[in-house]
Symmetry: C2
Subunit: 349 residues, 2 copies
C-alpha cells in the first residue's frame, strides 16, 4: 500500500483543496462568474454556466464553508444547546428545529452541556462564534450569565426558560399551567397529600412546576418537595423517600423520573395506581418508553415548541426585533397511573 513511490492517491493525504479559481480556470471564466452560477446570484450565459457546472463536477469542487462564511458575513448555521441529549425530549425538539432551519438553508449545530451551568455558558459562546444564531434549550445558567450572552448582540432565543424583565425572546411550555392541571386532577381524585420529585435545581421548568404546587394549596392539595433529579435512575432511587413522605400520589419532574419511580414503587410491592398515583411530565412515554406508556402525564406539542423557537430565531436574524416570551399550552393526558387514593386519605397510615 504505502510501498510504491508516491502513490497517486493516498488516503488522508491533504491534497490541495480545489478552489473556485481552479474551477474558473478549467471552465475558462472568471471566479466571479463561477460564484454567480453556483449561487444563482445573477443571470449568466447558459453556455458558460454549463461549462462551470461540468468543471465543478470534473474537479469535484466543494465550496469552503469558512471562506463563504467570512465573505458573506454569516455562517449558514444555527446552534442549539441542550443540557442532556439522553432525554428523549430534546431529539424531538431538534427534529422540528432542523426542519425549519433547513428550509432557510441553514445547518443545525447541536451541543450538549451535560447539565453543567459553567460549560453551558462557554459552549453558548462557542456556538455564537460560529453560528448566526443560537437556541438555548432549558439553560441552567443563572440570569446574569444569560444577560451576558445577550449583550453579545447575537440573535438568541431561549427555549423553556424565561428571564423576567429584560426583553429576551423565548418560547416555553407553560409548565405552570400544566402542573396546575395536574394538581386539579389529583385534587379531583381526592388526593390531599402528594410528593413532588424535584428536578435539577437550576431548572426554570422545575421552578415553574413548584410555583404551581404552591398555588395548589388552593385545591386543598399539600405538596412535599423531594429533591430528585432528571433521570429515570434518580426517580428509581427516590422510592424510599416517597414512601416515607406519607403521600397518596407523586408527581415527577418528568416522565423519565416517573418511570423510574413507578418501577421502584412496584418492586417495593405497591400497586400503581391503586396504592399510589404517579404522574409524569413531558409525555415522552408513547414514543420511547412502552414500559410506561400508560403514564398519566402533562403534555405539550414539542414539535411546535421547536418550530416556533426556530422561526423566532430566523425572524430575529432577519428583522432583529422580537422580544416577548411565547408560551405553548400544556394538556393533561390522563392514562393509567392515576386513580383515587386507596382508603381514607391518611388515616390508615
Amino acid at each position: 500500500m504505502g510501498a510504491a513511490p508516491v502513490p497517486a492517491v493516498r488516503k488522508g493525504i491533504r491534497q490541495r483543496r480545489v478552489t473556485i479559481t481552479d474551477v474558473g480556470a478549467v471552465a475558462g471564466v472568471s471566479t466571479s462568474t463561477v460564484s454567480r452560477v453556483l449561487n444563482g446570484t445573477a443571470r449568466v450565459d447558459p453556455e458558460l454556466a454549463r461549462r462551470v457546472q461540468s468543471a465543478v463536477a470534473e474537479l469535484g469542487y466543494r465550496p469552503n464553508a469558512a471562506a463563504q462564511g467570512l465573505a458573506r458575513g454569516e455562517a449558514g448555521a444555527i446552534g442549539v444547546l441542550v443540557p442532556d441529549l439522553a432525554n428523549p425530549y430534546f431529539p424531538d425538539v431538534l427534529k422540528s428545529v432542523s426542519a425549519v432551519a433547513r428550509s432557510h438553508g441553514r445547518r443545525v449545530m447541536v451541543m450538549e452541556s451535560d447539565e453543567d451551568p459553567a460549560s453551558e455558558h462557554e459552549l453558548a459562546e462557542d456556538l455564537m462564534r460560529c453560528c448566526d444564531g443560537v437556541l438555548l434549550c432549558s439553560p441552567r445558567m443563572d440570569r446574569a450569565a444569560i444577560v451576558d450572552l445577550t449583550l453579545r448582540g447575537h440573535p438568541l432565543v431561549l427555549v423553556n426558560r424565561t428571564v423576567p424583565g429584560l426583553g429576551i425572546p423565548s418560547v416555553s411550555a407553560d409548565f405552570y399551567g400544566g402542573m396546575t392541571l395536574v394538581c386539579g386532577h389529583l385534587a379531583q381524585l381526592g388526593h390531599r397529600r402528594v410528593a413532588y420529585l424535584s428536578g435539577p435545581e437550576a431548572s426554570w421548568a422545575n421552578a415553574e412546576r413548584i410555583r404551581a404546587f404552591d398555588a395548589a394549596a388552593a385545591f386543598g392539595v399539600e405538596v412535599t418537595v423531594i429533591p430528585c433529579g432528571h433521570t429515570a435512575r434518580q426517580g428509581y432511587g427516590s422510592a424510599d423517600a416517597v414512601r416515607a413522605a406519607d403521600v397518596t400520589a407523586v408527581v415527577a419532574y418528568n416522565d423519565l423520573v416517573a418511570t423510574g419511580a413507578v418501577t421502584a414503587l412496584e418492586e417495593a410491592g405497591l400497586r400503581i395506581p391503586e396504592d399510589m398515583s404517579v404522574i409524569g411530565c413531558d409525555d415522552i412515554s408513547l414514543d420511547d418508553l412502552p414500559g410506561s406508556r400508560r403514564l398519566t402525564t402533562a403534555s405539550m406539542a414539542r414539535h411546535e415548541l421547536g418550530t416556533r423557537a426556530a422561526r423566532r430565531l430566523e425572524s430575529l436574524m432577519a428583522d432583529g426585533d422580537d422580544t416577548e416570551p411565547h408560551y405553548i399550552p400544556m394538556e393533561l393526558r390522563i392514562r393509567h397511573t392515576s386513580a383515587p387514593p386507596a382508603a381514607l386519605p391518611h388515616t390508615s397510615g
Copy 2:
C-alpha cells in the same frame, strides 16, 4: 420599527463586529501582536500583552470563527453524524467523543440523519465542508456512498460500520461476537427455536447480528428472523409475530426493541422469562430504562467506542494514515429475562 431616533442599544441590531484591528488600535499595537497574545503563538512583552488583554475585555472582542478557520486552514471542529438521537446509545458515545475532541481544542458538531440514507450522505458532505474531520456513526448509506465520501480526501472514521476491502478506518463493536455469545447462552439454557427481531435493513450492525445467527446453527439453535425496526414501539408491535413464530426465546435488535417486546408479551399474558426469554443488545437498560433494568443483553463499552473513534479521527487529522478496522469486544450481561424454556421445546404447541 424605527420610530425612535437611533436607539443607543437596540437588541438584535447587527452592531459592527469588533475585530482584531479595533483591539490593536485601542491597545496601541499591531494586529499580529494581538493575534500572538490571543493564541500564545509567540513571546510578547508582558506590558503589551496586558494592554491587549484589557482592550479585549473593554471592547468585548470575540474572534471570528470563520476568519480563523480560513486563515488557519482548519475549522477547529469535528462533525458527528448519527442516525437517531433518540436512541440513548448515541448520546453516550457523543459524550466520550466530545471529551477527546475538547481535549484537542475542537468543538463537536452533531447532526442527525433520521435513519434516512439519502439525507445522511448529504449531511455528511455538509459536515465535511465545515469540519476538520467527521465520525459517521452506524451509517445506513450503501457502500458506494461511503466510498464517494472517502474520495473527498477528508478525514473520516466509521463507527459501527465496516466496509470490506478498502482501507477505511473504523471502530465498531464486535456485534458478531456478541450475538454469538447470546446464542451460546440460549443454547446452553436449552432453547432450540428463537426469533430475532431484526433492525433497520441498511444497518451493518443488524447484518452482523444475523451473520452470527447463521453460525448459531452449529449450536443447534434455529433462528427465525422477524423484520421489526429499532424503536421500542416497533418492538412492542412485534409481539404477535413473535408468538406466531413458535419460539421459546426472542433476541432483539437492541434494548429499546427488547423492552417494547417484553411489555407487549407481558400484556399478552406471558411471563418473562418463564414463558419466553427476551434478550436485548447494547445494554442501555441500566442507564435509562429502569423498567427494563433486568434485561439480559449484550454489552459493549460505549465509552471506549467513542473515545477510540475520536482518537483515531484525531490521529487521522494529524498523521493522515490509519486504515485497519478496530473492534470493541462485547460481553454477555445475564440478568433476568432469560431462562430455560418452559417445557419440552415445542411439543406442547
